[in-house]
Structures are given as C-alpha cells and as structure tokens.
C-alpha cells in the first residue's frame, strides 16, 4: 500500500516538483471517498458532545485508534439518540468524508446500533433488505371481513390462546381450528411453517390463519425473526395475521404477514367481527334502505302531485273560457264594425243628398224666370220708346213743315191763282185769256172763277 502510493507520487513527480495544498487535499478527498463509500465501523463512543444545531459529534475509538464522527441532525435516529453515551460499544453505519478546508476526515454516521442486541437487529435489517419486495404493502392479501373458518397457529398452553378464545366467544359465528405448535426455542419456526403448509394443503376452506404468541425476551421471539418464517408466510395462499411479541416491536413475522396485530386479544377482535357491530350496521342499512325508498316514493309522489297541479293549471277549460271571451269580443267587434260601416255609408249618402238638394234646378228656373221677365219688360219698353221716338219726330217734322208752308201768306190776305185744271200758278195776267177757269186759293178754302177780263 505504502509502496503503491509512493509509486503514484513518483509518477506525478516526474511532471511536478511540488503540490499545492489544494491539490493534495483534493487528492486525499478523492482517495478516501472513492475507496470507502458506505461502511459499518465497530467502535466505542468517546468524547460525545451535542452541538447547538442538533448535530452529534463523537470519536469512535478502539485502543489507540480514533475516528472523528458526526451524526447530522437531519439524519439522526431518534430512538437511539437518547441512549448514546461515552464508552458505549456501537456499530455505526455511514460514510467517510474528507474536509479539504480543515484537512480532517470525518465519519458521517447514518445509523447507530448498540452492540450485542444490535447485531440481531442488524440481522433483521438484512432480512428486510434481502426480501424487500415481499414487504411491499401492495402484495399483502386482504383479510376477509366476515370469515367463517379461521386457523390459529399457537401453543396450546400459552396465554395467547386463552386470550384469543376469550374474545372470540359470542362474537361471531366462526369455526376456530387450533394448530398446536411450539412458539419458542430451537426449530419452533419449522413447526410454524409446517403448520402453515398443512393448513393450506388440508384445510383450504380456512379463510384466515392467525399466528400468535405472547411477548417475551428477544431470544424467546427469535423464531419469528427467521428466514423460514418469511418464506413460509409468503407461501401461504390463505391470508395470514400475525400477533407476536410486544406492542412496540415488530417481528419479521409481523412484517411479512398480511396483517399485524399487537396482541392476541387485538387479533381476535380484528379478525372476528363483533356481532353487535354487525347488527348495528344492519340496522343502519335497514334505516337507510327505508329512507332511500321513502325518498324515491315521496319524490315521485311530489313530482306526480306537481304534475297534477300543473296539468290542472293547463286545464283546457281555461283556454275554452278565454276563447269564448275572445269570440264574444270578436262577435261584438264584427257587429260594431258593420254598424260603423253602414253608419258611415248612410252618413255619406245623407250628406250627398243634402248637397244634392241644394242643387235643385227650381232655383235655376226661378232665376231664369226673373231674367225672362226682366227681358220682357225691357222689350216692351224698348219698342214703346222706339215707337214714341218715331212719333215725336214725325210730329216735330210735321210742325216744322207746317211752319214752312207757302200757304202761310194767305192768312195775310194773299191768294194763289192757279190755272184750272192745269193747276199752273198764274203770276201775270196775260197768262190767261178771258173765259178761262181759274182756281183761287184763300187762307181758308178756294174758289173756282171764270176770267171775265184781262188787264195788262
């Protein structure tokens, strides 16, 4: 070993003349931690001290050798911690750590077993570790709640049997088969395993196997920490209940069984249902079943009742009534509309009639008659005035004419002499001859005379 290390250094020295502290400590750390991963170390506790942060420091010593050790607070096993004291021989499990900062090597302890008793516990741990999959809770068979037949593997003379039977009486209708075995001493585990096997083979109608014994010294319970027990229980097709030893300590048998009870009494109570409990449960069921049915029936009654009320609300009678009202209303409106319509027409006709009456031609006729009368008067008047005009004019002309009459001189005594019958006015005497007839016009009347004598 020494030689080996020297050679290693030698190789490195070929490259380097010296090491830094860091390099050395790092190499040491690697060396230690790589070579010692996890290990058990046996020794005596010395210089035990508790740090404020909860860590426990001590030295593991053997004669002149000493190893600094730490139990970190976070990894401290609660059960063992109070029992640690200087001088106690222990078996520690953990790993070595080299701290480069201080250049010291520490044993980081994860588990502490007191030596002596501690070795058996270690054994238990080893078995658990070995058959770890068998302890999986998921592998465990369920225990029938109402078993009719159970087998009890125990000593015929132990207190456990008495305890168990005492509880099981008047509890449940169950058939208990007792398979007597030794529960301590060399080979007891073999008998127990055989019992399990026999029951599985020959009494397959057994529903639960209960392995039980009272508490005792660690040595007394030794058969229950055996590999045989693990394998035997594991092989059983019938679920196994274990009630072995103390309340606090779990035996291997406890751990491998499908169920663990602390005491035989507890096992009886657990495995065999109590009559009163079941009766109570049944009475609960009955209550519940009555309640549920009542709920179902009354719910339907309520629903039906509601439907009935709703249907009654929708009674077409109401519809009929409202329709009747509507029809009545429509009928009224129809008559009203018709009356309105006719009234409108009648009123219009009446208005037109009135207008028409005003346009009666009688009025026209009267106006025309009057006009005609007026015309007639005008006609009379105009003809009359025409006539009178003419008459007046004639009269005035007549007057004028008479005023211009050449005969007017006659009034003054003149006369006009005319030849007769020629009627030629005689202006000179010589125009006539004697014996000629002459007409003499006087102012009044005329004379017819014969010329007697002509004088020039």
């Amino acid at each position: 070993m020494k030689y080996l290390e020297e050679t290693k250094i030698g190789v490195k020295e070929k490259e380097k003349l010296y090491f830094t502290v860091k390099e050395v400590t790092q190499n040491l750390k690697d060396l230690i931690e790589r070579n010692f991963s996890v290990l058990w170390i046996e020794g005596e506790i010395a210089n035990l001290r508790y740090s404020q942060n909860g860590n426990i420091y001590f030295n593991l010593i053997e004669e002149e050798a000493s190893l600094k050790s730490i139990i970190f607070n976070s990894q401290k096993e609660v059960t063992i911690a109070p029992y640690l004291k200087d001088g106690l021989k222990v078996l520690c499990w953990g790993r070595l750590n080299f701290y480069t900062r201080s250049g010291e090597c520490y044993f980081i302890v994860r588990r502490v077993e007191p030596l002596g008793k501690g070795i058996l516990t270690l054994k238990k741990e080893e078995l658990i570790k070995k058959y770890k999959p068998l302890f999986d809770p998921n592998r465990k068979k369920s225990i029938p709640v109402y078993p009719k037949k159970i087998a009890l593997i125990t000593s015929l003379f132990g207190a456990a049997l008495q305890d168990f039977l005492k509880i099981s009486k008047n509890r449940w209708e169950v058939e208990i088969l007792i398979y007597p075995v030794r529960v301590q001493g060399e080979g007891a585990e073999k008998e127990i395993v055989q019992a399990i096997k026999d029951i599985n083979t020959h009494f397959s109608d057994v529903e639960v196997i209960v392995i039980t014994r009272g508490g005792g010294s660690f040595e007394d319970l030794a058969p229950f920490y055996t590999e045989d027990i693990i394998l035997g229980v594991k092989e059983s097709k019938i679920p196994v209940v274990s009630a072995v030893g103390h309340e606090v300590d779990y035996t291997i048998c406890d751990l491998i069984a499908d169920k663990r009870c602390a005491t035989p009494t507890a096992a009886a109570e657990e495995v065999i249902p109590a009559k009163e409990e079941v009766l109570y449960r049944l009475s609960l069921y009955q209550k519940k079943i009555n309640q549920l049915l009542e709920i179902i029936v009354s719910r339907r009654e309520k629903k039906l009742y509601e439907a009935k009320i709703e249907l009654e609300n929708k009674n077409p009678f109401k519809v009929v009534q409202s329709l009747e009202k509507r029809i009545k209303d429509l009928s009224y409106r129809l008559n009203l509309e018709m009356e309105k319509y006719l009234g409108f027409k009648e009123k219009k006709l009446w208005e037109i009639k009135n207008l028409f009456r005003k346009r009666h031609p009688q009025e026209n006729i009267r106006i025309l008659e009057e006009k005609l009368k007026f015309f007639k008067n005008r006609l009379f008047y105009s003809i009359k005035s025409c006539y009178l005009e003419k008459e007046k004019r004639l009269e005035s002309l007549e007057k004028l004419l008479s005023s211009f009459s050449p005969l007017n001189v006659l009034r003054r005594g003149y006369s006009i002499v005319k030849s007769y019958p020629e009627g030629k006015i005689i202006r000179k005497a010589k125009e006539v001859k004697e014996g000629k007839l002459l007409e003499i016009y006087l102012s009044k009347g005329k004379l017819l005379v014969e010329v007697k004598k002509v004088e020039e």
């Binding site: 006539y387 003419k390 004639l394 002309l397 004028l400 050449p406 006015i425």
Partner: protein, 85 residues
C-alpha cells in the same frame, strides 16, 4: 196709298227733312214750295199711317202672344234663325 212700301218710315222722314231744308230757301218758287210742301204733307201722312200700322201690329203681336200656340214657335224659330244671321 200704294207705294208706301217702296220706302220706309225712316226714308220718308229723311225726305221730309230734305223738303224742309228746301223750303227754308226763301228764293224758292212758290209753286215748287207748294209742291214740296204737298209732298211733305203726303209723306207725313204716310208716316202717320205707318205709325198707326205699327201700333196696331204691336198690339196684335201682344194679343197673339196671349193666345200664343206652340205652332207659332216655328215661326219664332225662323225669325230667330234669320235674325241671328
């Protein structure tokens, strides 16, 4: 009086007025004056006759009207037809 249809009342009147105008002329021959005067007289008489006739006719028309018959409307119509032209 035969020839009074040849000239109307108004023409007669006009003639009378003419005669009057001639008569106003002092130079007028007595004979002619007398002739004119006589003509005038005759015309006046003619007119008087006319007037008399007119009066009678108007009266007759009125009287007719009283006894107007529907048949007369034919005549009225014709009158109207001619008159309205």
């Amino acid at each position: 009086m035969v020839k009074n249809n040849f000239f109307s009342f108004e023409e007669a009147l006009k003639r009378i007025e003419e005669i009057l105008k001639q008569l106003e002329n002092k130079e007028l021959d007595l004979e002619e004056a007398i002739n004119l005067y006589e003509e005038g007289l005759k015309l006046i008489h003619f007119c008087e006759e006319k007037l008399k006739n007119a009066r009678t006719r108007i009266e007759v028309i009125l009287k007719d009207k009283e006894g107007f018959k529907l048949e007369n409307l034919d005549k009225a119509y014709e009158l109207f037809k001619n008159g309205s032209r």
